[in-house]
Amino acid sequence: MEGLVTSSVLALTAVGLSLVFGVMRVVNVAHGEFFMLGAVSAWFVTQAIPGPPWVSFSVALAVCPLIVAGLAAAADRMILARLNYDPEATILATIGLLYVFQQAALSFFGPDARAVTAPFSLRLQFPWFGYSGYKLFVILAAVLILSAVWWLMQRTKAGLVMRATQMDRTTAQAFGINVNRVYSSVFALGAGLAAVAAVLIVPISQAYYLMGGEPLLLAFTVVIIGGLGSLRGTLLAALLIGLSDGIVSMFFSPTLAKIIATLLVAMVLVVRPQGLFGAKA
């Protein structure tokens, strides 16, 4: 159960990262900060809106990803587009963004971790164990959103345009696709997915200005193991890592587990740069 919650949040975050890398060839180091901004803005929204928790939380779930997506689109227009999406320069630029966002959160939100109350505290009680209803809701919501993303990519014109841009930017442009707009929307979509994941998880964990590092590394791990730019691989890897995370940390201390995982991922990149599930480079 815990593992499935981790997997769902991880899948949302990693699919965002994977989309951005797949379509734009941009390694977004600031992705974890979009996650953090989602959580932090959720705290602000739930504080600002009166009424029962489920009302303010629903508003946060709807509004925060949009705020973050808007921010991402602006960052894309103002910075990434000017760099012509050069892979190395964009990495440096997103590192710069990472610091700016982190500082913004530190200045306006403060150095403390703050909790957001869950929208409901339903517990499904079975004779010998209970499930938190909210965690079930997180899993369900993640599945729904991921299905929506899949539908968007595979069944709509917008998805077709994105996939065309992914395959061949120049040809897509020659067919009259506004590549720059596609890039902006993909970057916004990726950041929005990270923000959704953060809003969903924030009642379980807490909002904290340095919380972006962990999901960033995990999402990298997932994307690399799943194969850079492959959505199906990303989902499989998120499931695998989310579930194994709980099991591994039963046997090892969390730090040691992280060391081993990090080294393993590095070795995967060295030995099989296309990822474990990736078909070709």
Partner: protein, 315 residues
């Protein structure tokens, strides 16, 4: 570049000379700062040799810096070594770490190389925390004053500290200059500009890059060790991603692929943060905005632009 030998040596020796002269001129606050900047500039020179000249964009140089730092710090702390062997230990650990990481990471290229080096550095940072009982973890270790005496010079005192930093900087700078002007330096630049063509000419890219990584590890290791001994503290914060980003920022700001770039970048960035922190505590944003500004508006850095416009002979 031929025929500019005298100008080149005069410029670089001149800078080293000016820095020595500043020892008697500077007020105490800037005196300490400059000692710090010179050691950090040695670290950045190591980064510049890998990134600026050979095109190896590493995001994990904190690992090499921290390796030197802990190599020196732990050998004084655990075995009670004095400063000179500790400095040697730091240098050696830096080179060995560079060899291990380089042997693996250099099998990848471009974005993969960046991520692999980032991952290795992160694993190194986590190791420092995991072995907290030895390394002191987040709190770090304070190096005993007795271990901070380098061949009779007490590094906790202002004067010897500055002079040792200056000597290290001078040796690093002139070594760097000699390296990039040697035939091997041309091969390095060849790898950066066009790896396939260099390979066709008979230069082994993997071997060249491995040697470069070792030299880079030597610079980073010795800088880390010297920093630990001079300021008497070793801590996990020096192994964080931030210390991989900073040398990159210094090099980019000063000018990648210019010998003097790392020093100019480190100097400017240090005082930028120093001055801005009297107005705001938002130091992270200063770093972030500086990085964005350099990437957007000055991709060649300050000295890169100077070389392009006025001084084409700048090595």
């Amino acid at each position: 570049m031929i025929g500019h030998d005298r100008k080149i040596w005069a410029l670089h020796l001149g800078l080293v000379g000016v820095l020595l002269a500043l020892h008697w001129v500077l007020p105490i606050y800037h005196h300490t700062n400059l000692a710090r900047i010179m050691v950090l500039a040695v670290f950045a020179m190591g980064y510049n040799i890998a990134f600026g000249y050979t095109g190896l964009l590493s995001l994990g140089h904190a690992l090499l810096f921290a390796a030197g730092m802990y190599g020196a710090g732990l050998s004084t702390h655990l075995f009670g070594w004095s400063a000179l062997p500790a400095l040697g230990a730091g240098l050696l650990v830096g080179v060995v770490m560079a060899a291990v990481v380089g042997a693996l990471a250099l099998r990848t290229k471009g974005v993969s190389f960046m991520i692999v080096t980032l991952m290795f550095a992160q694993a190194g940072y986590l190791c420092v925390l995991y072995f907290g009982s030895i390394t002191g973890g987040d709190e770090g270790i304070v190096i005993a004053p007795a271990s901070r005496i380098l061949a009779g010079l007490d590094l906790s005192a202002e004067t010897p500290r500055y002079l040792v930093a200056w000597a290290l900087f001078g040796a690093g700078l002139l070594g760097n200059l000699a390296l990039v002007r040697a035939p091997f330096g041309r091969v390095m630049i060849g790898m950066r500009e066009n790896e396939d063509r260099s390979q066709l000419l008979g230069y082994d890219p993997y071997r060249t890059k491995l040697v470069v990584t070792l030299v880079s590890g030597l610079y980073a290791g010795v800088a880390g060790a010297a920093f630990a001994l001079m300021f008497g503290y070793v801590g996990a914060s020096f192994a964080t991603i931030q210390y991989s980003i900073l040398p990159m920022l210094w090099v980019l700001l000063g000018g990648a692929g210019v010998v003097l770039g790392p020093f100019i970048g480190a100097l400017l960035m240090f005082y930028l943060i120093d001055i801005s922190s009297s107005y705001t505590t938002a130091n992270l944003a200063t770093i972030g905005f500086a990085l964005l500004a350099v990437v957007l508006f000055a991709p060649r850095g300050i000295l890169g632009a100077v070389r392009e416009r006025w001084l084409p002979w700048l090595p």
